[in-house]
């Protein structure tokens, strides 16, 4: 029943996202195969919808996993420093290396490496036993420092450079291509590997020694999850910039509505995140036409109040 509902919701959102835009298409036009509609859908809207779904789903599922291993429903994939590191590397490239700035591919690669390095720095603070609180605080510090540096580079550079740098901190699905979709599909194997760790993630909700007594190799499982989450977040950020709040809110909503065991939480978080970002992207390109609001701004604007309401509902017994 729940699956039917979610599938119908997903289909409805995708159809809407394919139809609406600067040139709106009716359902018959969409299905007719007329040349203009065909171009708009296949060259512009479908890759964008797929990219949004992969990135949104990946980020939300990553959020659920990170919250699980940190035993904290307020954790977020950006805590690993990936997002800040990627944005910083991209900003460096845009401002100081014209060759990198000219090639979207090179730029995405540089961003990915930046995210990876930041994660390694954060993890190195955790020591051999990956101490959770140290990692959490180190992640906050690294992320804040990286985003401050991005801001600094932005302020010191010229107008055009500033604009392309701000893309990384606000997130955008503009100019999504099929190649982007191809790269983003690398998120899927990571997602499958995380889904297979659902019962270990359940066990990791218990104190370390209890999880250990259930036969879970605590430190190793935790590291595997962190690496997979860093990979997903790195791919997502290097393609679309930092999209705020998805990883935080979606798992929270799923826990409240569907249940907290990871066997349920992980797949529904993926579906929920995908639907949410496709919808947010639709809003981002249709609210003030012909301007585009970066999708990260939409998610933060929608996300912040929803989140506060959720928190209030939770505080009330």
């Amino acid at each position: 029943m729940r699956n039917v509902l979610i599938t119908m919701l997903a289909l409805a959102v995708v159809l809407l996202a394919l139809r609406l835009g600067p040139t709106s298409l009716s359902l018959t036009q969409l299905l007719s195969g007329n040349l203009e509609a065909h171009t708009v859908v296949w060259q512009l809207r479908l890759p964008r919808v797929l990219l949004a779904a992969l990135v949104g789903g990946g980020l939300a599922l990553s959020g659920a996993c990170i919250q699980g291993i940190f035993r904290n429903p307020l954790a977020d994939p950006s805590l690993l420093g990936v997002a800040g590191g990627a944005a910083f590397a991209a900003a460096l490239g845009i401002a100081f290396a014209p060759a990198v700035a000219a090639s979207p591919w090179l730029l995405a690669g540089v961003a990915f490496v930046g995210g990876l390095l930041a994660t390694l720095i954060v993890l190195s603070f955790g020591g051999r036993k990956t101490d959770l609180y140290t990692i959490l605080l180190a992640g906050l510090a690294v992320n804040a420092a990286a985003l401050a540096l991005v801001g600094l580079i932005g302020v010191l550079s010229m107008e055009t450079t500033f604009r392309s740098i701000s893309f990384w901190t606000m997130g955008s699905l503009n100019q999504a291509t099929w190649i982007d979709v191809g790269v983003a599909s690398l998120i899927l194997p990571c997602v499958i590997l995380l889904l297979r760790r659902a019962s270990a993630l359940d066990g990791l909700v218990l104190p370390d020694a209890e999880a250990q007594s259930l036969g879970i190799t605590v430190t190793q499982s935790r590291r595997e999850v962190i690496v997979l989450v860093a990979a997903i977040t790195g791919i997502a950020v290097s393609l679309t910039g930092v999209i705020a709040f998805v990883g935080l809110i979606v798992p929270h909503m799923i826990r409240l509505s569907m249940g907290a065991t990871h066997r349920t939480l992980l797949p529904y978080s993926f579906a929920g995140g995908a639907i949410l970002i496709v919808l947010a992207d639709l809003l981002s390109r249709t609210l003030i036409q012909p301007m585009e609001i970066p999708v990260g701004i939409i998610t933060a604007l929608l996300g912040a109040p929803i989140f506060v309401l959720l928190l209030r509902a939770q505080v009330k017994p």
Binding site: D202, G203, A209, L256
Partner: protein, 251 residues
């Protein structure tokens, strides 16, 4: 001999926090570890559960070093409950208790029956669909106990149940209920090791106590009636001459 500790020592950051301890424990006995705050009770329990390695000495279970047991194998024989640890994730009571089934490949019928037995023994039948974040401290403690019981329930005559302050936050009725239940399980062959400050409540005369000094050395081990003396308690807890507890216990 089921559990065998030979001169085990535990060090944290190079500082000795526990030991040396020598001890043999038959299957089907109940050992309570008694000692002051920080005496190393929890460290010893984690070592017994295989969740922490000894720094020196050997720890054997049925003639094999604990470190030789594979994780999956150990998880079917040893259940461990840490000190009260709240969770922020809204698992239902059913889902939380079933975490104890993670090490096992039970059929759904076996699982259902074991869950039913365990929840009944902890008087949780009415709470199964409630979220654990909404429970009172004592109710949640019973859920956690049920989780650890489920883990060894079907193999209890050969297993070890390790409980860190199991009575904490339980009311008197449920404390008594738990002590009686554990006594029955021990009679069926389960080995129980717990850390407690309520050692005077222990029901059976066959049980053992291990008294730790504030520095983590073994002061005494044996039957409570023969082991626990006023001098020992005074040393273990560093009670002074004017202690009102001493007066009330008529030491």
């Amino acid at each position: 001999m089921s559990l065998r500790l030979e001169d085990i020592i535990a060090k944290h950051q190079g500082v000795r926090v526990l030991g040396p301890i020598c001890m043999n424990l038959e299957q089907g006995t109940w050992l309570s570890i008694v000692g002051a705050n920080g005496a190393g009770k929890s460290t010893l329990l984690r070592i017994l559960a295989g969740a922490e390695a000894v720094s020196d000495g050997t720890y054997q279970f049925q003639g094999r070093r604990i470190s030789e047991l594979r994780n999956a194998e150990r998880a079917k024989l040893f259940a461990y409950l840490a000190q009260a640890a709240p969770t922020q994730f809204p698992f239902t009571v059913r889902e939380y208790v079933l975490l104890g089934a993670l090490p096992h490949q039970w059929s759904s019928e076996t699982r259902r029956r074991a869950l039913c037995d365990v929840t009944k023994s902890m008087s949780l039948e009415g709470l199964l669909e409630r979220s654990v974040v909404q429970l009172s401290g004592g109710e949640f403690q019973r859920v956690r106990l049920a989780r650890s019981l489920l883990q060894i329930w079907l193999n209890r005559e050969a297993s070890v149940l390790i409980l860190d302050e199991p009575l904490a936050s339980l009311d008197w009725k449920h404390q008594e209920h738990l002590l009686v239940l554990l006594g029955q399980l021990v009679n069926q062959g389960l080995t129980v090791v717990d850390a407690t400050h309520q050692f005077l409540l222990m029901p059976s005369h066959d049980d053992q106590v291990l008294v730790l000094s504030p520095r983590g050395e073994a002061l005494a081990i044996g039957k409570p009636s023969l082991t626990i003396t006023p001098e020992l308690i005074q040393n273990a807890f560093e009670l002074d001459e004017r202690s009102t507890f001493r007066a009330r216990l008529r030491f």
